[in-house]
Amino acid sequence: MTAYVIRRLLSTLVVMAVVAFVVFSLLYLTPGDPAAVIAGDIATSEDIARIHERLGLDDPFLVQFARWVRALAHGDLGTSIFTNLPVTQLIAQRVEPTLSLTLCTLVVAIAVAVPMGVLAAAKAGTWFDRAVMAFSVLGFSVPVFVLAYILILTLSVQLDWLPVQGYRNFRDGVWEWLRHLILPSIALGTVYVALIARMTRASMLDVLSQDYVRTAQAKGLAPDQVLLGHALKNAAIPIVTIIGIGVALLISGAIVTETVFALPGIGRLTVDAILRRDYPIIQGVTLLFSAVYVLVNLAVDLSYALFDPRIRY
């Protein structure tokens, strides 16, 4: 197991190196010039050329890439072209809101979706099952931003129950922190509730038709025991896989949610950096995202062994 984990972690480095090179190349080829953005609307070509020179943007691709890799080897992700702040500092400022949003969304999604899917499978063909399926279709179909606006309009503007926008740090108080996350988590989590509930139902239906479940029922085990003790554990692998994919998808979903609810998270940092061509931030954030993706996949793979003793690494 340890050797497997080490091997996977080493492969993470290779993945990140490839991602870094591809992203750097794409940014080099993409139209857009941070010097023009810095100079502002009233600048002349000479102003832009001066800024270009100062930032080293005229250097050949390989020179720029080598400079970036050299800094990276020293743990330096570079400095934002615009704010002159270190990329690590900018990312650190934004980690907490994104992490909070992701965690809350995951907790809400799992807490709602798994029981929903299990019950839908147990009551397959009933009105409850159909309602869960209808909700799943709706959850997939409504875009995050539409749901977000509906929530803002009803729960914030009309009822004044929850804040429209913004984020409070955890250290400012749990309730304040949570209040600012409820709407974004619901908006972002709905699609994952739909996804996980559907997958849980399908997986459970598959397991519930197996012989050992019939045997357990024939032995007189309570329905709850059969459902949770026998069936759910065996149905868990596809569910965990879909949750893992969901975590990866959450990162892209968070970009929209953070924009609508004005949460200062990594998603917005990325979008803003792309719009103004702040290359060091884009590169830094992409590296971070690729590491998260790979580590989440590793965690999912390792969790298989917990649910299925036949799996060994």
Partner: protein
């Protein structure tokens, strides 16, 4: 301890723990008057000299002060300067600073700080460069007195030092002002009415300023950036909300106090709320413009440019940009309507009923051979996008071969700096807008110039316009200045360096418990009171 007493202790402890967990938030803002403001853009660059971005200019007005300032009557007023003298030969200006001026780091403002700041500004700003051209020397006489010696009289010397919009000659400590003029400063220490709180700055989200309690305002009432800068709140938070629907909801719900610029389509949403006021507090608004590329056909031909004048209907652009005729109007002038040099001299081709026949006649005379016309558009900038669509439509009506290429603002501002032909990523037309104070005269309206490759994107070259501009600089009184500006404009309508498309105002919206907003062409936050 009795059983009852034990329960009480448990209850008290439980309550304390609950309070700790549920939290008593944000002690820093308690008991303070906090003004929460949604700016029109995200503040990314702190240096108001390296960039001309208006958000950075507004940040500059928070943090820095200026030697002089222009008031609502377009008069220059001393600001940091207490008194000044001009020698009889108009070649020497002697300035004396006010008492008690102090930077945010506690250091006094000295003559050397002012000189270094103005010299840095003059390396970047067009009017500053003009002043530098005629400057013989800046000299510090003592800590509070300094002189400006000119090589020849320059009637606009004080106007330059009072320039209200980008780039504004803000005063910084000498150690900071010595930074290369192309390198962003990172230490926003000024002597202005607010202090920047760097530790709380979250780029892309929040900017925090606190009242500068050491600031000594002038006694005069505020008028634009002139007069007393009396701060009436303890703290200002700029909360950047990129999504306009969310910004409207936040203002409606009272989570923020003031939204600097709102899109016109959201006015009805806010107008229903009696606690919110939608108002125009910008007396000059902004000017839309259509810029040609002079390097390649077909707009390197004067008649082609003149033809466009006959086809553009400014009323359409007002509606397209501002959504409502109440928020804009046609302005048939190269200089901001409502300012002293505005006029309609030579504007006949742009005014009145649109004459497509005349336009087609000019196109024929120009020998247009169906060359492609690439309009670069930025769909993420509604002001640019609406103008691009209207221009494409007008040009198609003239039978021109239009290729409207949509992208984002970041791509547009990169592409427009390209001097390549169309098949190598070049362009024929782009649109933008400039705030009113940036277009008030031949000195600041850089788009009307004919300085060729060294000039603004599009690179029109016209010796005549440059000559007339120089003549305007030499004008010594208001009447001569107006006459010279009219001559520049008459030539501009003939040469057509660009087409003015409309004058418009993006309204501001604020909660009715705010008072004291300064009517000015830039957003100023002193004098604003929150009840």
């Amino acid at each position: 301890m009795t059983k009852q007493g034990g329960y009480r202790w448990v209850a008290v402890l439980g309550a304390l723990m609950l309070a700790a967990v549920l939290g008593t938030p944000i002690a820093s803002a308690q008991g303070q008057k906090v003004l929460k403001f949604i700016p029109q853009a995200d503040l990314r660059i702190l240096d108001p000299i390296t960039t001309t971005a208006y958000i950075t200019r507004n940040h500059g007005y928070m943090v820095y002060d200026t030697l002089f300032a222009t008031d609502a009557k377009f008069q220059v007023q001393p600001q940091m300067v207490d008194k000044y003298e001009v020698s009889n030969d108009k070649l020497t200006y002697t300035f004396t600073l006010r008492d008690g001026l102090k930077f945010h780091d506690g250091q006094p403002v000295r003559s050397t700080d002012c000189i270094a700041s103005v010299e840095r500004w003059a390396k970047r700003d067009a009017l500053g460069q003009k002043l530098a051209e005629v400057t013989d020397s800046w000299k510090a006489v003592d800590d509070k007195t300094f002189t400006l010696k000119l090589k020849r009289p320059f009637p606009l010397a004080l106007e330059a030092l009072a320039k209200p919009s980008s780039n504004v000659p803000f005063i910084m400590p000498e150690r900071i002002a010595k930074t290369d003029a192309s390198t962003n400063i990172t230490d926003p220490i000024g002597s202005g009415p607010f202090k920047f709180v760097k530790e709380e700055w979250v780029p892309g989200s929040k900017v925090v300023y606190v009242k500068n309690t050491d600031y000594i305002p002038r006694k005069e009432p505020p008028s634009w950036a002139a007069g007393g800068k009396v701060v009436k709140v303890d703290r200002v938070e700029w909360i950047y909300i990129p999504d306009s629907a969310t910004a409207a909801a936040a203002l409606n719900a009272g989570e923020v106090d003031w939204w600097e610029q709102m899109p016109p389509d959201l006015i009805p949403v806010l107008a229903k709320n009696k606690s919110v006021k939608v108002e125009n507090i910008d007396p000059l608004g902004s000017m839309g413009l259509l810029r040609f590329n002079f390097l390649y056909p077909p707009f390197n031909n004067q008649k082609m440019r003149q033809a466009i004048l006959y086809a553009i209907d400014q009323n359409d652009y007002v509606l397209g940009i501002a959504g409502d005729a109440k928020n804009g109007h046609p302005c048939y002038s190269f200089f901001t309507c409502g300012t002293p040099l505005a006029s309609e001299v030579g504007a006949e081709p742009l005014k009145g009923k649109r004459d497509f026949e005349k336009a087609k006649q000019l196109i024929k005379e120009a020998g247009y051979k169906g060359e492609k016309i690439v309009i670069i558009d930025a769909t993420d900038q509604p002001i640019v996008h609406s103008q691009s669509l209207l221009t494409a439509e007008a040009l198609r009506k003239l039978g021109l071969n239009v290729d409207l290429q949509a992208g984002d603002w970041g791509t547009l501002i990169t592409r427009r700096s390209s001097k390549e032909p169309l098949d190598k990523g070049g362009w024929s037309i782009f649109h933008t807008w400039l705030v009113g104070p940036d277009v008030t005269s031949p000195a600041v309206n850089f788009a009307v110039r004919g300085s060729g490759q060294k000039g603004w994107f599009g690179w029109p070259e016209d010796a005549k316009i440059e000559e007339l501009r120089e003549a305007w600089f030499a004008a010594t009184d208001a009447a001569a200045s107006k006459k010279a500006a009219d001559a520049v404009q008459a030539r501009a309508f003939d040469f057509v360096p660009y087409v003015p498309t409309a004058q418009f105002i993006l309204p501001t919206a604020y909660r009715t418990n705010l008072t004291g907003m300064i009517i000015a062409p830039m957003t100023l936050m002193w004098n604003v009171e929150k009840r």
